[in-house]
């Protein structure tokens, strides 16, 4: 069976549809991020990030995206934003930091863009 025959996703600019393909690709990465709900897991990670990546079986692209804290790369590697938010939280990055990074803006410029959407 070819899953592509069921692909009715019209491409949407700047948006990755987190579907079965992405969910399979990012499973290890998202599973690691899900573990960060627990405070002890966050401490274990911080003590030795590389060992923690291996424990969850991250591939090299996922590891590098984590090392770089690069959100677009994390998404390309199968990350889901809800789980990635827990990874970002370890580094005290909020959703505006994450938005600014992905759009190549300063945080202030990103916040201004949000404010302008209300005009």
């Amino acid at each position: 069976m070819n899953l592509a025959e069921f692909d009715h996703h019209a491409p949407i600019d700047g948006t990755t549809i987190f579907d079965g393909t992405q969910a399979m690709k990012g499973y290890a990465l998202n599973k690691m991020c899900y573990s960060f709900n627990a405070a002890e897991a966050r401490e274990t990670y911080k003590a030795d990030p590389e060992a923690y990546y291996d424990r969850f079986g991250l591939n090299e692209a996922q590891k590098q995206a984590c090392r770089d804290k690069n959100v677009l790369d994390l998404i390309a590697a199968g990350g889901n934003i809800y789980y990635l938010a827990k990874f970002a939280g370890i580094f005290h990055l909020d959703v505006q930091d994450v938005g600014a990074q992905q759009t190549g803006m300063t945080k202030d410029a990103f916040k201004e863009k949000l404010r302008k959407a209300g005009e």
């Binding site: 948006t15 938010a85 959407a117």
Partner: protein
Amino acid sequence: MATIIGGLTSSHIPAVGNAIAKGLQDDPYWKPFFDGYPPIRDWLGDHKPDVAINIYNDHGLGFFLDKMPTFAIGAAHEYRNEDEGWGIPQLPPFPGDPKLSWHIIESMVAQEFDITSCQELAVDHGFTVPMQLFWPGAPNNPDMPRVVPISANTVQHPIPTLKRALDFGKALRRALLSYPEDIKVVILGTGGLSHQLDGTRAGFINKDFDQYCMEKIVTAPEELTKITRMELVEKAGAQGTEFLMWMMMRGALGDKVTPIHANYHIPISNTGAGTMMLECAA
């Protein structure tokens, strides 16, 4: 028989929980948002519902991708709020109503909604933030209703269609109206409105579309079922798909509702924040 007295909608942004914890309600950034709630609290104070059905979407606390229920219904004596990864202090557990939960579960499956029942379910900000907004101090508010959480999947596609969400609400209505006890029920639909957190389109907010949805959800929810899921992602943003919770809520209210109060404000965090109070015909 249970009586459905009305429906409430609210955004459930984590930053709101933080603002409540810090007492920022009168801060100029937050005030236009928090001002949307006192009229609804007054209404709740007058009507004192016994039960709140809280329709929300889990964000990776109660469920993971290993097993992802499309629709899940809580069937527990209480629901714990747990650390979501940010180390924010947790709220005490919320009291459940397992007898009502199982009645709903029986009825939904009889109506061919094959849901997942949950005897344990950790509830995240999607559930707790609206509770805090509607019942300050929740769950330690003297008027705190018992709760039945219902979570729909918006984490991973395929997500339910807007029609399925509305139909779920209609089935939930039938389930409640067949409950033998005389209780007053309020239905919450939480999440949205437009926002996108991920990708180069992060920060996308669509005021026109949000306002269209807030209008049609009152008068013509069936019209909204024509929106495809991909169209919803395109127009409401990748996480704006949480509007499905509003559709589920709306289905449970019956054909005619009276809008008592509405508020809309941009931005709260990365989101167009919408709040509504819809009263059911007595």
